[in-house]
């Protein structure tokens, strides 16, 4: 079964901008896929479709299927339980006053008992290396810590599919390294929209390239990212990690 199946997905913003022009691709269970593309190519818009935040009006015959189920008005709660979405700007995602409350938000919305909520909070804080930070105010954290709290908040809902929007942007090299190591440990199916090409090479066996709302390439990460013509044509480049075979 496919974790994500998208067939001919189109989306137009209110102002008439065509953001997605017939996107189709599948992600198998357990796969880790990078979604690359220049700024404004429609990556974030695509990700918002994966748990039914877009389109504004959900209809029965959605172009997006999650674990075989079309995303519709009826099953939206199930879909959101299965797809964990990590937003690009941590300040958008961390809306509770303290770390603990923010991580507990998802499980509480799932209607879990208090003891179960607390257990999940502890587990995902430990998993993301944040044990002991539960009482901290979310607006006083460093950017790297905010990212990890965002991830913890989503992991606490135990989603089968993890969708991340530029998870390593604005992080310092150490933060980036640690966040990548963290992502590698998570067994869920992952779709990662990113400009961090090294992350794509290190974590994702497969890459999908989106440009102007259309899929322009889909294949093995190393093969696509070595194709300099393709990379340059779509606002990307061959990462150094692939050019220099010697370790440094």
């Amino acid at each position: 079964m496919n974790a994500i199946e998208i067939i001919n997905l189109k989306y137009r913003y209110h102002d008439g901008t065509e953001a997605l022009r017939g996107v189709s691709f599948r992600v198998a269970l357990g796969e880790c896929v990078a979604l690359l593309g220049p700024n404004g190519s429609g990556k974030s818009t695509l990700l918002l479709h994966l748990n039914g935040i877009l389109p504004e009006k959900l209809s029965g015959n959605s172009a997006v299927k999650i674990l075989g189920e079309p995303v519709g008005g009826q099953n939206i709660e199930t879909i959101r339980r299965q797809v964990g979405l990590v937003f690009q700007d941590p300040d958008d995602q961390l809306f509770c006053p303290t770390v603990q409350e923010d991580v507990a938000f998802g499980p509480q919305q799932l209607g879990l008992a208090e003891a179960e909520v607390a257990a999940r909070v502890d587990k995902s804080l430990a998993q993301t290396g944040l044990a002991g930070l539960g009482r901290r105010a979310t607006h006083h954290l460093s950017h790297g810590e905010k990212r990890r709290v965002c991830l913890a908040g989503v992991l606490a809902c135990e989603p089968a599919i993890l969708v991340l929007d530029e998870p390593t942007s604005d992080l310092d090299p150490r933060g980036r390294r640690e966040f990548k190591a963290l992502l590698r440990q998570i067994p869920a199916t992952k779709l990662i929209a990113t400009h961090d090409l090294e992350l794509a090479v290190e974590l994702c066996s497969r890459t999908v390239v989106l440009d102007r709302g259309e899929i322009v390439a889909d294949g093995a990460t190393v093969k696509l990212l070595n194709d300099e013509g393709l990379m340059l044509a779509h606002g990307l480049e061959c990462p150094h990690i692939l050019r220099h075979v010697h370790p440094h």
Binding site: I53, E77, P97, F105, H139, C157
Partner: protein, 203 residues
């Protein structure tokens, strides 16, 4: 605009800071209500309330200059209201009492907000079954006040970095633009926050 205004001493450490938030909220409310409801003639009682508050202030070990500055900040509003009393017969006395009463209420809230973290107060409100919509709104407001002030400060700096003209009219114009931009950004952020809440199952 500066972050100094948002800074407070609510996370300090004193006998008063360590008291349960519910108790402090209750006492503050009682002090305000007493002050408001006392008749004008009861000057002695009002002074007693003042004495209680000064004792609390001393026990909370808040810097006196800090309390004074906080009070002064709101004084124009207080005087603005009280000054209307001067236009009625025997207004001098009423003016003085209103001034005293308002300042006592103000001091009570300043003391409360500087000895009790806002998040603790929200928790008390939730426990008191204050409507969840109200508590949620307050929570989000408190959370995003900091983001908004940061954003305004960044915009102000960016503007200042490219401002070569001086002149008050121009500056007012800039202020209007910044406020307008801030409003647009805030409402767009609100939409993104709502999306993020929905993504984690908000109903």
């Amino acid at each position: 605009m500066s972050l100094r205004l948002l800074h407070n001493h609510s996370r300090g450490d004193s006998a008063i800071h360590r008291l349960p938030a519910a108790l402090k909220l209750g006492v503050a409310l009682a002090l305000v209500l007493t002050t408001v409801l006392l008749p004008r003639a009861q000057i002695a009682a009002l002074l007693a309330v003042a004495a209680v508050q000064i004792l609390i202030a001393a026990a909370s070990r808040l810097p006196a200059w800090f309390l004074l500055r906080r009070m002064l900040l709101l004084e124009p509003l207080v005087i603005g209201v009280a000054v209307l009393m001067l236009f009625q017969p025997g207004g001098g006395h009423v003016f003085a009492v209103i001034l005293l009463k308002t300042n006592l209420c103000l001091l009570a809230t300043v003391l409360l907000s500087n000895t009790t973290p806002f998040t603790e107060m929200l928790r008390v409100l939730k426990r008191l079954r204050v409507p969840w919509m109200f508590v949620t709104t307050l929570t989000l407001m408190h959370r995003y006040l900091f983001v908004l002030v940061d954003e305004a400060e960044r915009m102000r700096r960016a503007r200042a970095g490219r401002t070569f003209r001086r002149g008050r009219r121009f500056q007012w114009g800039v202020l209007a633009t910044v406020l307008g931009q801030l409003f647009i950004r805030a409402s767009e952020r609100a939409e993104r926050i709502y999306d993020a809440m929905c993504a984690r199952g908000w109903k």
